[in-house]
Symmetry: C2
Subunit: 255 residues, 2 copies
């Protein structure tokens, strides 16, 4: 037990120091480092040991350029050293089952298995993020690949029953942004029972002010919205309303 | 840069050494440790800074007992020091939007926002898992709470637009199982394009043998199924087919 406190402190510092990096140097990540990061991703927990995810490592510049465009012109997708696309993958399970002459389509088409595959991809990704940051790399998740998931799927040759959940840029940081304040723990973590949020109104208001100060400072006074302002703005128009029909086409009918 | 290799090695060892723990000592986790683990969970990336998840920390023994039962009589849910339920949470966003007089229901009902909230919960959970293991704790994810998600939601008072994605047992390990072999990297990580899986048939077969050996050793010869055997067995009957209707009832119509 005596070795834990020191290790715990280092890991906790690493996790609590996370901020997204969107500007990278031109330095390339060695292949051995990528391989080690992927191995860490693979060691995350996986539902029933199904390992229902795959990772596409995008290194070809022309592909990165297109993905940057599909993600809504996010240039860092193009300029990062390595772009990973985390996919929920039920195709491999379908493949090995068919090879044994068993048709498991009915199971794979359930909402349950969609959740399993999506969560598996996310757990693997977060391990990859932690491993990358331990190596001094910067990362940013790219949900923007769901802007054009059909084009992403075509570009990367994703078969039926595989969908791109999100991307992740990896590279050596060329910026040093501050850590972004999170909600007070009292608003996210509840003991034994979910509370009435009215009881947390003061904490939420205080957080709004904290986020406002963060933006004011970071943008030198240009941006001054609170967390609630940002939430309302983000949610006032539905986005990516194509996901349901895209998923159905891609073999996830969410039954 | 000089400090990275040592830190990277330690973190990589931690991540690559993960195995689920299902037997715990009676030692209780200090509140400060739980709080630090939750803080690490909160620092994971979150889509558009929405923080669309909540965590219920279950400490009351009667609740843990019921959750163990709902999860399919998984006794470690009851015997672990601390049980966390990770929830996808769009209710808090609904609450703060309504407080500003804005109705964002249409956005919150999309499949896209279901993905956002589910992924947010998973990223936070994996950071919690890593932080816990850094502290010498053992963890196991409990997808079994989706066996009876309606009962879990009622027991924990989850409001509309909050659903329990999975649970996680935390405690001091009272067992030391081996690390479970993962798929070969070549079967999970692909460069630039998803391959035809026929080209990986040999690797998959080799993995089947590796898993068979792992089970043979772990069960002293009682269990000898390959990975494919396990996959086919797990998928031959659809499970948790109630998820679609449960989610609809709970405010996730997946539009």
């Amino acid at each position: 037990m005596t070795t834990f406190p020191a290790q715990a402190e280092r890991v906790v510092q690493l996790l609590q120091g996370h901020r997204s990096i969107r500007k990278f140097t031109e330095e390339k990540i060695p292949a051995a480092t990528i391989s080690e990061i992927i191995r860490c991703a693979q060691m995350a927990s996986t539902s029933s040991h199904l390992q229902a995810y795959s990772i596409i490592g995008v290194t070809e510049q022309s592909l990165k350029q297109k993905l940057a465009e599909y993600a809504g012109n996010q240039t860092y997708v193009e300029t990062c050293s390595h772009f990973l696309v985390f996919c929920a993958d039920l195709h491999r399970l379908d493949y090995v089952s068919r090879a044994q002459g068993v048709d498991v389509t009915e199971t794979l088409e359930t909402t349950e298995k969609f959740i399993v595959a999506t969560v598996d991809a996310a757990l693997a990704a977060q391990n990859a993020a932690v491993a990358a940051e331990a190596h001094g790399l910067g990362i940013v998740y790219i949900g923007g690949i769901r802007n054009n998931p059909d084009k992403v799927a075509e570009l990367l040759g994703l078969p039926d029953k595989v969908y791109p959940v999100f991307g992740m840029c990896l590279g050596y940081p060329d910026q040093d942004p501050e850590v972004k304040p999170r909600l007070p723990q009292s608003c996210v973590y509840f003991e034994n029972r979910y509370p009435d949020l009215h009881s947390l109104a003061d904490e939420l208001k205080q957080y709004d002010q904290e986020v406002k100060q963060y933006y004011l400072q970071r943008t030198k006074g240009k941006r001054q919205d609170t967390w609630t302002d940002m939430v309302v703005k983000t949610l006032s128009t539905p986005s990516r309303t194509h996901m349901k029909s895209f998923l159905k086409e891609q073999g996830f009918p969410l039954k």
